[in-house]
């Protein structure tokens, strides 16, 4: 029997391509997950004035650099989307690879930052501020990692001009990950 594509990848019962619709549902669930973490952090931060003596140790410049990296990677993601729309799969794949490079840069910087912080004695157990810090940034980092891995697969297909609609789907996810960091940055690095 000849292999055939699952109908869900192409049908559009709601007026939105099913793949893109699925990404929006993922984002809806992610809003609750990250919203819960950030909301809890904010409430505790306001209720614990002693946290200011801990938050002062986060490095604003590293946070700002990583924000720049993610904003730039979002630009590459939307340019990949633009290229896919122009049916230029190779260009879309190249932009997706640049987005992945942004993800890699973000994770490497995070790695150095966390190493330094842990060596300085700021661990998850040292204070509730640091528990939130590592949980929120760690959860976000896992999303960056997952997005980059998925993007590699999509870029491989896009390079062959296949499944170009997926470029938009991963882009929407990536922009959401960027938005989460846009809020994490002031909460963890600026409000000292």
């Amino acid at each position: 029997m000849a292999a055939h594509r699952p109908i869900a990848t192409t049908r559009s019962a709601t007026g939105i391509p099913t793949g893109r619709l699925a990404v929006w549902w993922v984002i809806a669930s992610e809003i609750v997950i990250f919203g819960g973490v950030l909301g809890s952090y904010l409430m505790h931060r306001l209720g614990h004035p002693e946290w200011e003596h801990q938050s002062v140790h986060t490095n604003t410049w590293i946070g700002a650099f990583n924000t720049l990296v993610l904003l730039t990677s979002s630009l590459f993601a939307v340019l990949a989307h633009n290229a896919a729309e122009l049916k230029n799969g190779k260009k879309a794949a190249n932009f997706l690879m640049l987005t992945c490079l942004g993800a890699l840069t973000f994770m490497v910087v995070k790695g150095f930052e966390w190493t330094h912080e842990i060596q300085s004695g700021f661990t998850m157990q040292s204070n509730m501020f640091w528990s939130f810090y590592y949980t929120a940034a760690g959860l976000h980092g896992l999303h960056v990692l997952a997005g980059a891995i998925i993007m590699l697969f999509i870029a491989a297909d896009a390079r062959k001009n296949q499944e170009l609609q997926r470029v938009e789907a991963i882009g929407i996810y990536w922009h959401f990950v960027d938005i989460v960091w846009v809020f994490l940055f002031p909460l963890l690095y600026i409000a000292k």
């Binding site: 939105i16 549902w25 909301g39 730039t72 896919a84 846009v182 600026i190």
Partner: protein, 146 residues
Amino acid sequence: MSDTSHPAPAGTAAVAEGHAHVDHTQAYVKIWATLVVLLIISVAGPFLGIRWVTLITAFGIAVVKAYMVAKHFMHIDLERKWILYLVATMLALMAVMVGGVSPDVMQHHGRNWTNVAAQEVVEKGLKEAPAEHGEHGAAPAHGEKP
């Protein structure tokens, strides 16, 4: 689409209706440049040492940046309306959660209750606070307290 400030989303009307897609690279780069300028302002804001300025430049600008990414990169306003309603519902649920538990979390005593453990943690934390602090032991950052 002629409106360069708001490029059309891929995979939507343009392709579905067989219209030729226009290259929006320049418009996207302009939006990115605006986001970078906003980032610089959000980092510079705390250096003024004025609390309300920090709140606006940090959190106000974060909201603006998130709006710009959602609108211009995710094209959320060009999606079906119920996608917007779906996202708004999730944000509302988040607000309900925060609104519902914040009185218990942010305050450590009420009319008939006292959160002794939280009070002790605050007192202990304030007592243990070092006389000087900064980013990883460096100079104090921005010279401002929340």
